[in-house]
């Protein structure tokens, strides 16, 4: 028993430690590493939604996009000043004014600056606050969509979210005055003034701080999701997935828990999108195309839809593989453009995995490693006469946990 627990803790410690020292192993590929973590958050939260809860949403990237665009638009349009501008749309908040530079008057703040008293401050919302706003917006949309669709059958959610994702992308594409359209929206870096930690100074463009921010988000999200899965909530959503009618008859408020689950995963996706926006610094509506969603689904499925960790590891491995496969292959006179073909390969792999390995490719490996001890102990218990019923209960618990 204790061995088991130790092994598990050890796996987590080693895994986390590996991710912490990763930047020093591959200093040239930091960009891919951050993006890989971004996908890992999305894939594992999608696995929570689909693999645990059985709710198939194709709008996960749209929620990430909502988070990213909320953060970006706040950075573009919202300022706080210590003096009123008199030109822009503004709201008084005690000593500060909340100034909205709407698309109709993009230069109002510039003009007003000249007339302001000396020493007046104009500040942007800090990055963590606009990411929080993005999370709230993502959650609100999740709540609305969930309330609209989740009382219906499962297919409706898939149908609705795929249409919603497409609409959101079209709207952002069309409203160029506000969002910058297909050309993209500039976002400030996570630490616009650089960062000094342990005597080392990082420029705003350095990727290392962003990596650790994304890593912290990833670990926090993973911890939150594992806590949720282990709680009553996790039990309820799994029962809903197995049999909605049965769960309802046992007193689970099915619709409420489905909406809650959908909202939580939407917020997680929005958080990932917000950090991503501050990391890549130019976001375009292309981050929400169906292709991105397909890639996230492929990651979750290949990693193992029914395991949060499996999906996350799958995402990290596949992101690195996708980047590795970018270069063209030349066989004799044939030159294969791998930028498109690699996605064909992953599409085929997605279908084949679904067909033959419903648990994914990576999750069974994790299961093998972490459950080896459990299997032996269970066998040992079975061999013993059943005189110690109390000792069996923890084993059961262990199995449920894993």
């Amino acid at each position: 028993m204790r061995n088991m627990k130790l092994l598990k803790t050890l796996t987590w410690v080693v895994g986390t430690g590996f991710l912490i020292i990763l930047p020093f192993l591959i200093p040239t590929r930091m960009h891919v590493a951050v993006i890989a973590l971004y996908y890992a958050i999305l894939a594992s939260s999608w696995a929570l939604l689909a693999g645990y809860g059985g709710q198939f949403s194709f709008a996960h990237m749209a929620f990430a996009g909502l988070g990213a665009y909320t953060a970006g638009l706040i950075g573009k349009f919202i300022r706080f000043t210590t003096a009123p501008t008199g030109l822009c749309t503004e709201f008084s908040m005690g000593d500060w004014w909340l100034v909205v530079q709407d698309a109709g008057s993009p230069t109002c703040l510039e003009t007003a600056k000249a007339a302001m008293p000396v020493g007046a401050l104009i500040v942007k919302l800090p990055a963590w606050l606009d990411i929080t706003m993005g999370i709230i917006v993502g959650g609100l949309f999740g709540l609305l969509i969930g309330a609209l669709v989740l009382r219906l059958r499962r297919t409706y959610l898939a149908l609705f979210t795929i249409a919603f994702a497409e609409i959101l992308r079209t709207v952002i594409n069309a409203e160029r005055d506000i969002t910058g359209g297909p050309g993209g929206l500039k976002v400030d870096p996570l630490f616009p003034n650089g960062l000094t930690i342990f005597g080392r100074t990082f420029e705003a463009a350095d990727k290392l701080p962003s990596y650790y921010v994304m890593l912290v988000l990833f670990l926090a999200v993973l911890a939150l999701m594992y806590w949720l899965v282990g709680s009553r909530f996790g039990l309820f959503i799994r029962s809903i997935r197995e049999d909605e009618e049965a769960a309802a008859s046992l007193g689970v408020n099915v619709v409420r828990y489905k909406i809650l689950l959908f909202t939580i995963t939407a917020m997680i996706a929005a958080a990932a999108g917000g950090v991503y926006a501050h990391f890549v610094r130019v976001i375009a509506p292309n981050m929400m195309v169906i292709k991105e969603m397909s890639v996230v689904i492929a990651m979750a499925v290949i990693g193992g839809m029914e395991s949060l960790l499996g999906a996350a590891i799958g995402a990290i491995i596949i992101e690195f593989a996708l980047e590795q496969l970018r270069s063209d292959i030349t066989i004799g006179s044939f030159s294969i453009n791998m930028t498109d073909w690699r996605l064909v390969v992953f599409g085929a792999l997605l279908m084949i995995t679904l067909r033959f390995w419903g648990n994914g490719l990576i999750f069974p490996i994790i299961q093998r490693i972490t459950r080896r001890g459990v299997a032996e102990e269970t066998v040992a218990k079975r061999v013993q006469p059943a005189s110690t019923p109390t000792a069996e209960a923890p084993v059961m618990e262990q199995e449920v946990e894993a």
Partner: protein, 413 residues
Amino acid sequence: MNYPSIFWYAVLWIIVWGAVGALVTPRVYARKDKFTHQTAMIGAFIGGAFGPVGLIILWVLTPQLSAKWILASGLVVLLWLGLAFSRADPDNLCVTSGSFVATQLANGLVIGSIYGLMALGLTLIFSILGIVSFAHGEFYMLGGMVTYYFTQVFFPEINPLWGVLAAALFTFVLGSIFELLFLRPMITGQIERPGEYAILVTFGLAFFLQYTTLSLVGASPKKVPRFFDYPKVEVPPDSGAILKMTPGNVTFFDIISIPSPRITALIIALILLAALLYFLYRTWTGKALRAVSQDRQAAAVTGINPKRMNTLAFSLGGMLAGISGAALVQVFSWVPWVGIPASSRSFVIIVLGGMGSLPGAFIGGLILGVVEALGAGCVPDPNRAAAYLPAYGMIILVLVLLLKPTGLFGREL
């Protein structure tokens, strides 16, 4: 700029009283111990159409309700919207030019018939296999691509109808191969959770087909010239002739003008619809298909092989999408991701028409076609109007899900 104020206040008014009607009416009916079936929807429509006065009359009298009420009050809502629109934007082409509106309506109906045909394929698949194919748009895209390559690249001199036939054959075969390889295991019990598997595997197929096509043919738009040049029918101007034709355009009654490729597409769609109806209602196989959609077990007892019917339904559904694509490839330019908006359109249509309902799919297609055409023609900013084309369908989808999730002709879920 009184445009936004009047129109948006009217919309707000309708939404608010519609919501009040939808929320309160069922309670009033329940309190008076009357039949509450569909009272929410009728309350919403009456609230939207007649505001508080209509609602109070409805609540006091609580008459026995029927579908006629929905239709009547729905028309009144549309009338209000139209009036508000014409008051708000009097210079709009939609308000000043009747022939423009008629042309838009006719074009919407023509394109809508193709949408309907495509959605018919999706609803056929749903009614037999019980799944929604998320790769439906990709069959549509492939139909167009095959037609392009068949008629433009491989056999440039051939009659374009052969291209349509090739597209039909290709998508039919592709559908049956996919069904046999990936969907057959669902009913033989080799898959743990068939419902979830079906969503993901068809989505995976969509991804796979899209990128295979992109890798093979590239991202540059393909354009197929119109299949047929129409004979020129000359009439003196303003003679009130019923029909006027040029090779690229057909004009009815001097006011409704439709590009000829769309007419060709409409004719293909109508012929196919007739063939499909004949197949479903007059042949043994078609009857067997409908029997399986009604009751699998009973159908199996009478000697129908449900597995074979599954394959047939999926291939037929894919083929209908493929032919829709082949018919429209001469109207729009074709890229590998042209299927994405097309498939969301089909989803809107089958939800609107009722999942699994064949007439619902076709009528839903016509409705969506008209709404999109009017939206594209009447929204003041033309760039934006075109960009928001998919959004009009989305509004319909939200309304249907709010008011009547079973759709127009759906079976109760």
